[in-house]
Each structure stands twice: as structure tokens, then as C-alpha cells.
Amino acid sequence: MSLLGLGIQYFRTRLLLLMSAVAIALGVAVLFTVLAVMNGFLAELETAIRDLSGDAVIETARTQNFEQHTLQDFEGWLADVDGIETLEPQLTWYGLVGRRGGRSVNDPRSADLSGLMLVGTDEDIAPDVAAELGPDDPLPMKMGVGAAKELGLQVGDEIGVITFVGRRRGRGAPLQRTFKLVGTFSTGRYDQDLNRAVVRRHDLSQLLRHATGFSQVIVRTQADADPLLVAVAIENRLQVVGTAAPGYRTTYDWRNRGGNLLRAVENQRGMLSIVFFFIVLVAAYQLVATLTLTVSEKRRDIGVLRALGATPKRIVRFFVTLGLLISVLGIVMGLALGHWLINNLPTVERWIGGGQPIFRAEIYKFDHIPVAVDTQSVLLLVGMTLLAALIFSLIPAWRASRVTVIKSLRKR
């Protein structure tokens, strides 16, 4: 690389070359930041969905099944299935939910009643409410923000719940109970926030007079296990013990459940990457302009180099190297800037939003902007930028190699 020194000299004396590097840096920084934020969203969504649905779920079409078998039965059947971290019982049922005292006064548009999925959880959703309550005490309930809004409910409001249990012939009487809204939650999934309420599993089980207290089993897998393989193994195992566990046939990989959303975000990430890669492309294209200018400005020097014995190939190599030098500088600056950006997002957010946060916690589930740097996409970004720089440098480099000594030295 004998000409590298000359290239660096060009670099030092030409602000324009530096400007190209800055342009590339900006493109790389923006793309880096966008990718990091999108990856952050994906990672948080994954965690949220996993928290809610586990890695796999054991379900059955016939709800009675769950009243015949205890969690110990499942633990026994699945004892020799590898990769299971925990089995968590969950009780879900459907109920009609309405504001106590009829139509909401606050919001005349709100509905009177709404069919919600009641999720019984072992999580302590109301730490300051006693575990055992009298038959007339309201039970604690948390509701998805969407559902609460639709019913015009506020924290502290009392809620009436009506549900039916058609377990046995002649026992289909409606069950009623008063709940109290202790909080709302947001899963990041609009549909779930609209049709879910979380209650204590013990309360729900008592209300429904459920025999075992669970209607599905949430499976959490060990960190190094593939949830899909574990799900298949569980399904196979339950098939083998089929006589003992009639009808337990379905296990879901969590990806299936949150899948549509995740795929949408992944698609969006792909689209955004393409859109923002155009910034890099434009920056790299500016490299063509800069290098072309350098070539015509330096025609005489190129002629001298050719006279001194530089082959046309050598000239091509020189200008491509110059282009790569610029883009490497741009990439390094861009990654540094991007790194700073994702570490100072709240500040940047305030700059851009004029003092207001752009991401509102009520709209996006997260009260901070999640970021996750994914090495693979950064490498792809660097590779694509270098490739673009290489291809774009080839055009002016080829033109430089066509400079003839006699013409370039004649005019001065």
C-alpha cells in the first residue's frame, strides 16, 4: 500500500473528504440507533409475552379434565422431560364485568357490561388486601388499560362480575361477586389489554368452586432449552400417558401466541432498516461525488503517478482505498455517535420532542425506550456500508485509471 501515505495527505488537506466521512457517520449512527431501539422493543416484547404466556402452555378442550388431575399429576408425568424449569398452574375463566351502580357517570359512551377473560394468577396483585376475605368483601382485580377505559372504570371503583359454570347438569346457576379495581396493566398487546382482567387465583377458584384451582399449566423452560422442542416433548409425553390424562393434547410454543405481534415488529424492523439504509446509501453516493471531484482536481497528480510507473490497476486501488478509508472513518464515527445516542436517549428525546417525551408510556408499554445492540445487525450494517462504499468508489476510481499521462500533463 505504497500510496496510502498520499491518500492520507489528500485526506488531511481536503475538508470535502472529511465531510463525506461525516455524512456516512450520520447515516450509520441513525441506522445503528434505529436498529438498537427496534431490537430493544423486540426483546422487551418477548419478555412481556413470555412472562404472560410462558414458553409453552398445556391446555385441553374439555375443562373438566383439569378438575380430575392435580398439578402433582402433571409434575409426575413430566418429571423426565428435559428442559422444564417450572410448571405454573393458571386458572382462566370468562365473566361479564360491569361497573357497580350501572352506567358510568364519567363517560356516557362507556359500555355497561363487557365480557372479559378472568386470569387467576399466583402473583400478588394486591399486597395490602388480606388473603382470605369474607363473602361480602370485594375481591381485588387488575384490568387491562383498554378494558378499564371501555368500562369507564378508575382505580378504586367497585366492579360486578357475573359468570356461569355449566359443570354438571342442573348446576348452571349464575355466580355473582363484587370486585374492586386495584390497578390496571398494559401488556403491550392491545387485544389483551382490552379483554383481560387479572384476579387472585385462589379467589377465582373459590368463586367458581373449582376442584383443583387451575385450568391450564404454564410451562417455563430452562434458559438453554428450545421452547419448541420442550413443547413437543411434553406433548409426546402426555400422549404416552394418554389414558391417565385424557384430552391433554395441546402445548403451545409462546412464539405462536405472541407470534403475530413479534412478526409485525420484526417486519417493521426490516422495513425501517431498508428505509434508513437509504441514508447510508445517499451518504455513500456522496462519496462518488467527492471522489470524482478529487479525481478531476488531481488529474495532473494521477498523470505523474502513471508516468512514474503506476499501473491503471494501482490507480484504481488507490482511489478505492481512499473511498474505503473515508467510509471506515465514517463508520467508526457513526458507531461512536450511535453508541452515545442510545446511551443518552432521554436527552435526545427531549431535544427532538421540544421538551416532551416522544414515547408516551400510555401508548407504548415501556416507560423508557428499550435498546439492545445486536452484534449481528451491527456487523451487517458495517458490511453493507463498506460494500456500498466499495462499489461507489469503483466508479471514480475507474475514471481515474483512464487518465492518460500526456493529456493530464499538457494542460495545467
Partner: protein
Amino acid sequence: MSDPLPETGDGIQLNAVGNPTDLRLEMPTLMARELCKSYRVGSGKLQVLRGASVDLYGGQICALMGSSGSGKSTLLNMLGLLDKPDTGKLWLHKKEVQNLGQAAAARLRAAGLGFVFQQFQLLPELSAFENVLMPRRLAARGWWSRRKEERRSAREVLERVGLQDRLHHKPSQLSGGEQQRVAIARALVSKPAVLLADEPTGNLDRKTGTETLDLLLRLGREESAAVLLATHDPDVAARCDRTIFIRDGVIFNQVPE
């Protein structure tokens, strides 16, 4: 060209193109025969060389005299493999070179041809030392080159042109004479067999020009390069070993009528 064979003062018989006919002498380092070159100008054609023949010998300094526009630079370009003749043949070290491709010609230039231009043609971003180093770097094949040796020879040749104190000066920080001395050092750093100088003193004042010419002649002799020096100045030509003349695109060994 049908003139009777001329004779030099020391009695050596010369052939039609001004070369000694004495067979004990070596072959010419650079040999050109019947070079023709024309340029397209507008819709017409300008015939600059019409069968120019030249022989250059190692250790001999030959002046090429001709008025401005007579084709001296054009001829030097052909001899230096910077341009291709329309017809005619060219041998460098007995190897036919007029049809070489660009890359092969460039490699030959790097290895065996040195140029000194009227306009100096130094690279303005580089120091004197880096300018002189450049031909060695370009001649180096592959990644692994003898950097130390290259740097030593660059420094050495700059010392020989008396610029040991100006190694790290940029061309803009040097006088015209100094710049041309850097150019001479650059032309000689690869120890070329042929040195082509196109009006090397044309851009210098009389005194500096004379000094620069002295240097060029001395180094050319020390290196025993085959030197061709284009000039329109008879005083310059008089100081060379031999003078050939160009007129109407043809080479003469004597002042043509």
C-alpha cells in the same frame, strides 16, 4: 536520410541515424525506428512525427534540438512509453516495446525509465523525500518491499542533488531550481537505464538553469544512463555529448537546411 554518412570529430563513422557504425560498440539501450505519430485536430489530422529514428546509448548524453512545436515532447512521449506511435518500432534493451499494454508499459517505466519535465511535476502534498521515494514504491511488487533500502536510496540521491537539508520540505516551500533538483533525484532514484528530460531548464532563470543542467549532466554520466535532453537552446545542446535535430517530424544528425 540519403545524405552521405557523417563523421564525428574523433573519426568514428556514424550511420544514417547518427549512431557509431563501429561494431565493437554495444547495442543501443533505446532504439526507435521510423516512428510516426499524428494527432486528430478538429476534423483534420496533424502529422507530428514522420518516421523519426533515434538510438540512445548508455553513458551518452544526447540533446534533441528543435523549435517549439516541432514535436520534441511528442517524440519523448513515444520513447518514454507514455504514448503509442501510429507506426514504427521501439526497442528497449533489445525488447520490442511499442505495442505493450498500459500495465506492462507502466511497469517498464517504473523499472527502467526516468523523466524530468519542464514543469517539475512534483506531487504537491508530499515532501521532497516522499516525492523521491514514490517511484521506488511504485516499482515494488507485492506487499513486502524493502522499505529500509528504499528510504536509504531516496535520502542518498537527495544528498547527491544537494538537498539533504530539504528532505521534509513540500514543493511549495522550495525554489524552482530546488524543485527541479528534487525531480532529477526522483528520476534517478530507480537507477533507470534511460533518462528523458523535456526542456528541464525551460522554467528556470539562466543561472539556476545552468546549475541544474550541470547537475543533470553530471548525475547522468555517473549513472551511465542513456540521456535524451530536449531543448531549443543551442547553449544547452552544446554541453551534451551529441546533438540530434528534429524538423518536420524527422530526425537529422546535423542542423537541417
